[in-house]
């Protein structure tokens, strides 16, 4: 064996060394390393899972947000429509009220004008009658002679109604 260059002792020593190395490796390096790798793998899996879950949740939230947005838009459109309708109604009511008030004012003004016209006509009639009679009185005052006054007085007394007080 020695001629072949094989040293039994050395081989045995190397085998023992290898055994010790294997033991130490298995005991203190391989197990923690596997454990570490396993842990890392689990973390990565968990991260992936969480990422997927998060993505899924994001998608759900986005979907929900879109639905809410749609609903909000629909509500807003509905509210705008209702506001428009309400505004139109208010506008119509206001126009009707204004028209009514204007009609009332016109009627009132017409009545006032008519009343003023009637008052003016009455005043004119009164003045015409007064002036007419004043002229007649003046004329009679100048025209009637004492004899004429006496004759008229006599005529009036003769034709006066009988009075019994």
């Amino acid at each position: 064996m020695e001629n072949l260059g094989i040293d039994i002792k050395l081989i045995v020593a190397q085998m023992v060394n290898f055994g010790i190395f294997y033991f130490v490796f298995m005991k203190f390096i391989s197990a923690p390393l596997f454990k570490f790798l396993k842990k890392k793998k689990e973390e990565i899996e968990l991260r992936d899972k969480l990422a997927i879950d998060l993505e899924h949740r994001n998608a759900q939230l986005e979907k929900k947000d879109k639905a809410m947005d749609k609903e909000r838009k629909a509500t807003l459109i509905k509210a705008i429509e209702e506001s428009k309708k309400e505004a139109l109604l208010v506008k119509e009511t206001m126009i009707a009220d204004a028209k009514k008030e204007a009609d009332s004012l016109i009627e009132s003004a017409k009545a006032q004008i008519q009343a003023e016209r009637e008052t003016m006509q009455k005043g004119m009639r009164k003045q015409i009658a007064e002036v007419g009679i004043m002229i007649v009185e003046k004329a009679l005052h100048d025209y009637l002679t004492p004899q004429a006054r006496k004759d008229i007085t006599k005529y009036i007394i003769e034709h006066a109604p009988k009075v019994s007080l």
Partner: protein
């Protein structure tokens, strides 16, 4: 209501005195000139009150013709002026 005896007696005496003395009514006849007896007579025929009353004649130149008879607060207007007033009223109502 209680009336004082003195006041009551005074009132009674006044009323009795008033009943005893007959008052003759005083009538004022206004005209543009002094009415003569014939005209007064004609007036008396028309207005009975004048028979029993004292007639007081007055001249009022504002009267155009006719006369106005006043008895207390009562007035009988037989003047031309009142006719003209009536005419004025008719004119006012009809023009």
């Amino acid at each position: 209501m209680i009336i004082e005896p003195q006041l009551k007696a005074d009132l009674k005496a006044y009323l009795l005195e008033r009943l005893k003395t007959k008052k003759v009514a005083k009538v004022v006849v206004k005209a543009p000139y002094l009415l003569d007896n014939a005209e007064i007579y004609m007036l008396k025929k028309r207005i009975k009150l004048l028979d029993k009353a004292t007639i007081h004649k007055e001249v009022d130149i504002s009267i155009l013709a006719g006369c106005i008879i006043q008895f207390g607060s009562q007035v009988i207007d037989l003047s031309l002026n009142s006719e003209l007033q009536t005419l004025e009223h008719i004119l006012y109502e009809t023009v």
